[in-house]
C-alpha cells in the first residue's frame, strides 16, 4: 500500500477531483453551457481540479479546441452564479479543454475521441481514468453506450465511469431495457444516473435534519403524522422547450424521478451507516414499498392537468397548446398530482400527496408534514367564521427558493382569555443567509469523479419509481382529457382539490 499523503487536512481542504479525463457528449448543448462548465470552472477556482485533468467535448458543430475554449469561456462568464471569474485561473483551466467534432451515429467519431483522449492523457497524465458524461438527447444514450463498448472504451488501465442524464427511460419497459443495454457495457458500480435534486444542499439537509437530531424521528411515523404534501411548482411555462416537454409531461419530468426521490429521502428508514450502499438500500426499499395503483384506482388517486391561457399581472400568457412547437390538441400533463401510500409499518395508511406543475402561482418546492391534532381539542381558535378547533402542527421543509424549516404551533393570543392562534417558528439555512452553497452539479461531479455514488440513483431505484408511475401513465395514455383544465397562474385543476377532499384533506397554499 502506498504511504498516506502527510499533507492532507480534511478539516480544511474540500474533497478534490482525482486525476482523470471527462468526455462530455452534447458539449454544444444547454446543460454543458449552463451547468457543467460553470461547475467545473468553479471547482478549478476553488483549487479542486488537479493539473492532471482534461475535458473532451463532443458534438457535431465543427470547432477547433481554441473555438471551443472561447465558447466555454463566454458561457462560464455568463452562467456562473455567486462566484468571481478569475482570468488567470481560467487561462490555466482552459488548457485542459479539448474538442472533437463528430456525429454520434458515426463510428469515426469514437475513434477521434479515443485519439483525443490519448493526446490529453499524454499531455496531462490523467492516469487513464475516464468519465463519460451523456448530455445528449436521450435517444442517443443507447447508441453511445453501445459504441463505447464496441471501441473498448469501457475498459482501460484506470477506471471508466458513465453519467447518464435524465430522463432515464420513457417508461418502465424502456428504463429496464436501457439498464440492460448499459450493463452489457458498464457494470452497475460504474453507472451514475444523475438526479440533480439529490445533489441539492437542501435535499441533503433533510438527511441531516432527520438523522442528526434525536427529537424528530420519534414523531416521524403514522402515529403522529396525518398526511404529507410535496409540492414542486413552477411559475414559468415551457420556455421554448415545448416540443421536448410535450413528449414528457409533469408526471415523467418531475414526479417519477425528482419528487419520488425526495419522498424517499423524507420517509426512508435511518441507514445503519452513512455510506453509499446503506443510504441507497434504504431509499430503494422505501421506493419498493410505495403501493402500486390498480388501473381502476388511477382516477381516484391521480390527476392530470394542463394550463390554458390567462392574464397574469395584467399580461396575457399563452396556454400550453398555444406554446411554440406544441400540438394544438396536445394531451400532455403540465400538471400532475397523485396520492401515494407506503405499505410499511412506519407509514401504513398515511397519504402522501405529490403535485407538480407549470404556470402555477409561484416557484416553490417544499414538503409539508401535517401532524395529527391533539387527542382532545381543549382550545378554540378565533376565525372569521367564528371559533373552531385549531389547526394542528405543521412542519415544512422548504427546498426552494428559501431553503429552511418552519414549524407551526399554537400559542396563546396576548390578552385575557385562553384564545390560541397558530404561529410559525422559522429557520433558514446558511445558504439563505447569503452564503454561497455549491451547485448540485459541483457536488455531483466531484462525487462521481471520486467514485461516491451515494447521491446517484441505482438501477433498482429507477425501476422501482417507474413501477409506481407506470399504471398512471398507462391509464392516461388511453384517456382523452378535456384540456385545458386550469388557468395559468392558479394552483391547478379542481379535480386535484377533490382528490384530497375524498380523504378529508385540503392542499395547503405554499
Amino acid at each position: 500500500m502506498a504511504d498516506a499523503n502527510p499533507f492532507q487536512d480534511p478539516l480544511r481542504f474540500e474533497r478534490r477531483v482525482p486525476p482523470c479525463a471527462i468526455v462530455i457528449f452534447g458539449a454544444n448543448g444547454d446543460l454543458t453551457k449552463r451547468k457543467l462548465l460553470p461547475a467545473l470552472y468553479r471547482l478549478a477556482y476553488e483549487r479542486r481540479i488537479p493539473q492532471n485533468f482534461a475535458m473532451v467535448g463532443n458534438s457535431r458543430t465543427p470547432m477547433s479546441d481554441e473555438d471551443f475554449r472561447q465558447k466555454m469561456k463566454e458561457s462560464v462568464q455568463k452562467f456562473i452564479e455567486n462566484s468571481p471569474f478569475d482570468e488567470s485561473v481560467w487561462e490555466s483551466f482552459e488548457q485542459t479543454l479539448y474538442y472533437v467534432a463528430g456525429d454520434l451515429k458515426d463510428t469515426r467519431c469514437y475513434q477521434a475521441i479515443q485519439k483525443k483522449l490519448a493526446e490529453a492523457e499524454q499531455q496531462n497524465q490523467t492516469g487513464d481514468n475516464v468519465l463519460y458524461y451523456l448530455s445528449t438527447q436521450p435517444s442517443y444514450y443507447e447508441i453511445v453506450i453501445e459504441q463505447l463498448g464496441k471501441h473498448t472504451m469501457n475498459r482501460g488501465k484506470g477506471w471508466r465511469r458513465i453519467v447518464i442524464e435524465k430522463p432515464f427511460g420513457h417508461d418502465l419497459a424502456s428504463a429496464h431495457k436501457l439498464n440492460q443495454q448499459t450493463h452489457e457495457v458498464f457494470p452497475e458500480e460504474d453507472v451514475y444516473r444523475i438526479d440533480h435534486y439529490l445533489g441539492k444542499e437542501t435535499v441533503q439537509n433533510i438527511l441531516a435534519f432527520r438523522f442528526g437530531n434525536g427529537i424528530f424521528e420519534p414523531l416521524w411515523n403514522r402515529r403522529y403524522v396525518n398526511n404529507v404534501q410535496i409540492t414542486a411548482a413552477e411559475s414559468i411555462g415551457v420556455e421554448g422547450r415545448g416540443a421536448y416537454y410535450q413528449e414528457a409531461g409533469a408526471l415523467r419530468d418531475m414526479i417519477q424521478n425528482h419528487l419520488l426521490q425526495v419522498m424517499a429521502t423524507v420517509t426512508m428508514e435511518p441507514p445503519t451507516v452513512f455510506d453509499a450502499t446503506n443510504v441507497r438500500d434504504e431509499r430503494a426499499k422505501l421506493l419498493r414499498a410505495i403501493r402500486v395503483m390498480k388501473p381502476e384506482q388511477v382516477p381516484l388517486y391521480a390527476v392530470a392537468g394542463q394550463y390554458g391561457p390567462a392574464k397574469i399581472g395584467g399580461q396575457q400568457v399563452p396556454g400550453f397548446r398555444q406554446e411554440e412547437g406544441v400540438d394544438p390538441e396536445s394531451q400532455t400533463d403540465t400538471y400532475a398530482a397523485g396520492t401515494f401510500f407506503v405499505d410499511n409499518w412506519r407509514w401504513a395508511g398515511v397519504p402522501f400527496y405529490i403535485r407538480s406543475g407549470k404556470r402555477l402561482p409561484k416557484r416553490v418546492t417544499d414538503i409539508a408534514i401535517q401532524f395529527n391534532a391533539p387527542p382532545l381539542a381543549m382550545f378554540q381558535q378565533e376565525t372569521r367564521m367564528g371559533p373552531r378547533a385549531p389547526r394542528p402542527n405543521l412542519l415544512v421543509l422548504r427546498i426552494q427558493p428559501e431553503e429552511g424549516i418552519s414549524l407551526r404551533f399554537l400559542s396563546k393570543s396576548p390578552g385575557s382569555g385562553m384564545r390560541v392562534r397558530p404561529v410559525s417558528m422559522d429557520f433558514n439555512y446558511g445558504s439563505s443567509f447569503g452564503e454561497r452553497s455549491p451547485s448540485a452539479y459541483e457536488t455531483l461531479l466531484v462525487d462521481v469523479m471520486t467514485g461516491d455514488p451515494t447521491l446517484y440513483t441505482r438501477q433498482d431505484m429507477v425501476e422501482a419509481s417507474w413501477k409506481v408511475v407506470q399504471p398512471i401513465l398507462d391509464v392516461w395514455q388511453n384517456q382523452k382529457f378535456n384540456f385545458p383544465n386550469y388557468d395559468a397562474g392558479t394552483w391547478g385543476p379542481r379535480e386535484s382539490d377533490e382528490m384530497l377532499a375524498r380523504q378529508g384533506h385540503v392542499w395547503r397554499t405554499p
Binding site: 499533507f7 481542504f13 488537479p50 488567470s88 485561473v89 487561462e91 443567509f433 452564503e435
Partner: protein
C-alpha cells in the same frame, strides 16, 4: 440602534436587546411585511483597542460574517478615550437576502472601557453571552499577544478569554516570538487558539497536498532534500514559520527560510526539490500563485485570503485542529 449609552449591566443590556427586537417586529408589521427572523449560532466577541488600525474593516467583516455565522456579536473596545465606567450600545444588524421578503437580523452590543477598567468587563460579558452555544473571541488587541501588556487590562481580557470555546488571533505584524509564547501559554491551559497567519496558508498547503496526491511517486517525498521558504517582510512572518514547521512534519528535510523581493506581504515562495523533480509555488499577483511541478505550470487562485474569508474558515473549525497543533508544536524548532 440605542442612541444613548447604557450602563453596561447585563440586565440593562438584555432589556434593551428585547426592546430592539420588539420594535423591529413592530416596524415590519406596520409595513405589512413578514416578521423579522432572528438567527443565532454563537456568541462572537471582538476585542479591540485604539491600536487597531483596521477596526473599520474589521467591523465590516463582522457584519459580513453574520450572514454565514449568525451570532450575538459583542464588540469590546478598550480605549483611553472612553468615559468613566463601562458603557454599552445595543443595536440590530439587519439585511434582506437578495430577492427575499423576510429580513434577517443579528444583535450587536458594543461595550467601551478604559484599559484600567477592563477588570469589570468579564462579569458583564458573562451575563450577556448566548446560553448553550459556542463563544468565539476574535482578539484584535495586539497588546494581548505582548508580554509588556498592562496588567489590569491583561487580567480583564483573561476573564473574557476564559469564556471562549475558541480564541482567534492574528500574529501578522506582531513580534513573532512573543506572540507565539503567549499563544503557547493559552494552549497549555487547554484553550483552542486559531491564528489567521495559519489560515493564510490554506491555499498554499492545499496546493502542496494536492501536488503529492498526483505525484506518481508519493514515494518521491522521502527523496526531497531541499525545502525553501521565501517571504517579503523584513523578518520571517509567522506564516513562513508555520509553513516550515508543517512541511518538516511531512518531509525529512530542514526548511531554509529567506527574504526575497516579490509579491507579498508574507509568504512569497515555497520550493521543494528532490534529485528527480521539483515543486514550486510562487506568488505572482495579489490573488494568484503559480504552481510548477517539474515543467508543468498551473495558475492557482488564492481565493480565501480576504479578512472575511479567513475568519469564515476559522469559524467553521471550532473544535481542536490537529494539523495546526502539530505545526505549532514544531514551530519552536524552526530557525528563521
Amino acid at each position: 440602534m440605542s442612541s444613548v449609552a447604557l450602563p453596561a449591566q447585563p440586565e440593562r443590556i438584555m432589556k434593551e436587546l428585547a426592546r430592539v427586537w420588539t420594535s423591529l417586529a413592530e416596524e415590519e408589521r406596520h409595513q405589512g411585511g413578514p416578521t423579522v427572523l432572528r438567527a443565532c449560532a454563537m456568541t462572537l466577541i471582538v476585542a479591540t483597542d485604539d491600536e487597531d488600525e483596521e477596526s473599520l474593516a474589521a467591523s465590516q467583516t463582522l457584519t459580513e460574517l453574520m450572514h454565514a455565522h449568525p451570532s450575538r456579536a459583542i464588540v469590546l473596545r478598550s480605549s483611553d478615550r472612553a468615559g468613566e465606567g463601562l458603557s454599552a450600545h445595543v443595536f440590530a444588524q439587519c439585511w434582506k437576502p437578495f430577492g427575499k421578503a423576510q429580513q434577517i437580523c443579528c444583535e450587536q452590543i458594543e461595550i467601551a472601557a478604559r484599559p484600567d477598567q477592563w477588570l469589570d468587563v468579564g462579569p458583564t460579558v458573562l451575563g450577556i453571552i448566548v446560553p448553550d452555544l459556542p463563544v468565539v473571541v476574535w482578539c484584535r488587541q495586539k497588546s494581548a499577544l505582548r508580554s509588556s501588556a498592562n496588567d489590569r487590562a491583561q487580567v480583564g481580557l483573561e476573564s473574557v478569554l476564559s469564556l471562549a470555546t475558541k480564541t482567534i488571533v492574528d500574529t501578522r505584524g506582531i513580534p513573532v516570538p512573543e506572540a507565539l509564547a503567549r499563544m503557547r501559554e493559552w494552549k497549555q491551559r487547554g484553550r483552542i487558539v486559531g491564528d489567521l497567519e495559519w489560515t493564510r496558508l490554506t491555499p498554499w498547503r492545499q496546493t502542496i497536498a494536492h501536488a503529492f496526491e498526483d505525484f506518481d511517486a508519493l514515494s518521491e517525498l522521502k527523496n526531497i532534500r531541499t525545502v525553501e521558504i521565501a517571504y517579503t517582510d523584513e523578518v520571517a512572518p509567522a506564516s513562513a514559520l508555520y509553513a516550515a514547521a508543517w512541511l518538516e512534519n511531512g518531509i525529512a528535510a530542514n526548511a531554509a527560510l529567506r527574504r526575497e523581493e516579490g509579491f507579498g506581504p508574507g509568504l512569497h515562495r515555497i520550493s521543494l526539490k528532490s534529485g528527480n523533480t521539483s515543486i514550486e509555488l510562487e506568488r505572482t499577483g495579489p490573488t494568484c500563485i503559480r504552481l510548477n511541478v517539474g515543467d508543468k505550470e498551473q495558475q492557482i487562485s488564492m481565493a480565501g485570503s480576504s479578512l472575511y474569508e479567513l475568519m469564515h474558515e476559522e469559524l467553521t473549525v471550532l473544535g481542536p485542529d490537529a494539523v495546526f497543533d502539530a505545526a505549532f508544536e514544531k514551530v519552536g524548532e524552526i530557525r528563521s
